[in-house]
């Protein structure tokens, strides 16, 4: 097994582990971390793909750079919503399904 293969599998493993955690954990910060790292898994995969041939392929590198910036943007917004939700409800969980009924009176 070559280095590239190992990194390919590593990226897949990171993606899968984080997908599992994303579903299983309830705390929103954990979910945000999970999604962020899931993205990293894809980036590892892309970088490994770039390394396959004789020359390094710069296009996946550009994709990953873009992806990192997008990921930090999304993470920042997600964390801000977590804070807002925490301000409003006092906790950082999403209501389970069925609990989505309007919690704050008629206005909903």
């Amino acid at each position: 097994m070559s280095s590239v293969d190992m990194y390919l599998l590593s990226g897949v493993a990171v993606f899968a582990v984080c997908a599992y955690a994303l579903v299983v954990h309830a705390h929103l910060i954990r979910k945000v971390i999970a999604i962020n790292m899931m993205g990293s898994g894809v980036f590892v995969l892309l970088t490994a793909i770039a390394r396959r041939g004789d020359e390094t392929d710069p296009v996946p590198h550009a994709m990953v750079l873009t992806g990192i910036v997008v990921a930090v943007s999304a993470t920042a917004f997600a964390l801000a919503v977590v804070r807002k939700l925490h301000e409003a409800t006092g906790h950082a969980y999403l209501p389970e399904e069925g609990e989505d009924a309007p919690p704050d009176g008629g206005g909903g």
Partner: protein
């Protein structure tokens, strides 16, 4: 005249105009009060006009000269990024131009509440931070960008813009429910885009290209391609809200400000569906196993029934509409089963029917959410049991609901009828008659859930109190849009001509033998 339309730079206008408007509206956030609202309104409306004009220009260009390709930065694919417009792209652009334009006009009234005004749902009336317009413009640009993109990674970025701005629009609702719904949507959206990105990575790993056309030529039935198809489908089904991945939808559509709900329910879900269409038929064309289409097909069929049954059990207009969306989205997914069915000559019918429903449903559902917004604006809530006899007070909005319902039920002469007629024909024609039963059952179920609101609303003893009159422009826009959706069935000929430009299936005679 013709020479103006031949300039392919038109293709950038639907993307750049809203982006520029978003930037200007963003800068205008600094001004306070009435002045900001007026300035942002002007910018937004100008952009809406620009998008509409450019969509028309593209319509002329594409129907005149066939599909158009644009090389960004002057770089040929696969090195550079291309834009590509065929009939489907332009059709989707027109959809956003119509529904987005109506949404923009509606927003003029919706966010016109004055500070300090007695408002039970303050967040519905004021956009205190002035974020609605820039967010909506980003959202619009991302959708248009998606419809014109010909590059897999570029699509990923537009998906992300779409997800972020849509989530932010939901949280503008400002309630606890809005924050949790916005958060849930953000998660779903990010997860969906990541699944898509992983799919793209697999495709790049297999073929070394991102250009959709290049990928389409190269695609072959090998494990990475199957995995990519599965991941992309999963991600987009999640973002579109296909049963059973629709769990985020009701809360999101309910708690967003109604101006945003209309846009979200009308357009945003359709964008990811568009992507699905592109990927399935333009990229993977022949490499998907024929039975694969049965998975979305069956789930869509279940969604039609499940969504309608759930809609019947709701006590709020907006949740009812949201579950109705679950049901109507199900119709869209039928086409995957029908296209991969036994009779290839029926493919264009099924495909075109699904695509036409996108437009029809977008108009009708947006109009109905707008009408719900008028109710909330005027009455302060949208709880059906407390809205008995509301017809006496808000006749136009109830009428909007009823007229929009015609499309939901798929009755003539609505666009919903045309679409469901074609889906029906295709399902019988491909020998998959069980889908035709679902199509028909969905119509009756739709009638039942619509009556859940219409029946009490029409009753003569009014119990609901209207404490404030909504601006006429709100109810008017909603009504016009709903009426438009009912006449869509009569205007289908030119639109289908447009759709046949660059369609993945030959468009023969439809509905015939």
């Amino acid at each position: 005249m013709a020479s103006v339309f031949e300039n392919t730079n038109w293709m950038l206008a639907p993307i750049l105009v809203p982006l520029a408007a978003a930037t200007v509206a963003f800068l205008l956030m600094g001004i306070r009060g009435e002045a900001r609202r007026n300035a942002q309104n002007a910018v937004g409306l100008a952009a809406a006009l620009g998008v509409a004009l450019s969509a028309l220009a593209l319509w002329a260009m594409v129907s005149g000269g066939g599909p158009v390709r644009y090389e960004l930065g002057g770089w040929e694919a696969p090195l550079g990024i291309n834009l590509y417009a065929d009939g489907l792209s332009v059709f989707m652009l027109i959809t956003t131009a119509i529904v987005g334009g109506a949404g923009s006009v509606y927003a003029l009234g919706y966010f016109s509440g004055r500070e300090g005004e007695d408002a039970r749902r303050k967040e519905d009336l004021q956009d205190e931070t002035g974020s609605f317009w820039p967010l909506w413009m980003f959202l619009w640009a991302s959708m248009n960008g998606m419809f014109l993109a010909a590059d897999a990674f570029n699509l990923y970025i537009t998906l992300e813009i779409l997800g972020l701005s849509a989530a932010a629009l939901i949280t503008l609702g400002g309630t606890r429910m809005a924050f949790s719904a916005g958060m849930r949507y953000l998660m779903v959206s990010l997860l969906g885009s990541l699944a898509y990105l992983l799919g793209v990575a697999l495709l790049y790993g297999s073929f070394g290209a991102l250009d959709l056309a290049t990928l389409g030529e190269a695609a072959s039935p090998i494990p990475p391609v199957w995995a990519a198809l599965a991941l992309i489908s999963l991600g987009m089904a999640l973002k579109t809200g296909l049963f059973p991945l629709h769990f985020w939808m009701p809360a999101a559509y309910t708690s967003a400000p109604s101006a945003a709900s209309a846009i979200l329910a009308g357009l945003v879900g359709k964008a990811s569906f568009y992507l699905l269409l592109r990927v399935w038929f333009d990229v993977f064309g022949g490499s998907a196993p024929p039975a694969a289409g049965q998975i979305p097909g069956v789930l869509g069929a279940v969604a039609i029934v499940w969504g309608a049954v759930m809609a019947m059990r709701q006590t709020r207009i907006k949740t009812l509409l949201a579950y109705s969306s679950v049901s109507q989205m199900g119709y869209l997914f039928l086409l995957f089963a029908l296209v991969s069915g036994a009779a290839p000559e029926r493919s264009f019918e099924a495909w075109g029917g699904g695509v036409y429903l996108v437009l029809a449903h977008a108009c009708a559902k947006a109009a109905m959410f707008m009408a719900a917004g008028v109710v909330i604006y005027s009455v302060g809530h949208d709880e059906i049991p407390r809205l008995r006899g509301i017809f006496q007070k808000l006749p136009i909005s109830v009428a909007t609901f009823a007229v929009g319902g015609i499309t939901m039920m798929g009755l003539p002469t609505s666009g919903g009828f045309t679409a469901k007629y074609l889906l029906f024909t295709a399902s019988v024609g491909t020998g998959q008659w069980w889908y035709s039963l679902v199509v028909l059952a969905g119509s009756i179920l739709a009638a039942l859930y619509l009556l859940r609101f219409l029946n009490p609303a029409l009753i003569q003893v009014p119990t609901a109190k209207v404490y404030r009159d909504a601006p006429q422009i709100m109810s008017g826009t909603a009504f016009v849009l709903a009426v438009f959706s009912v006449f869509l069935g009569l205007m289908s000929a030119p639109l289908f001509e447009l759709l046949s430009v660059g369609a993945p299936f030959p468009s023969g005679t439809m509905g015939g033998s």
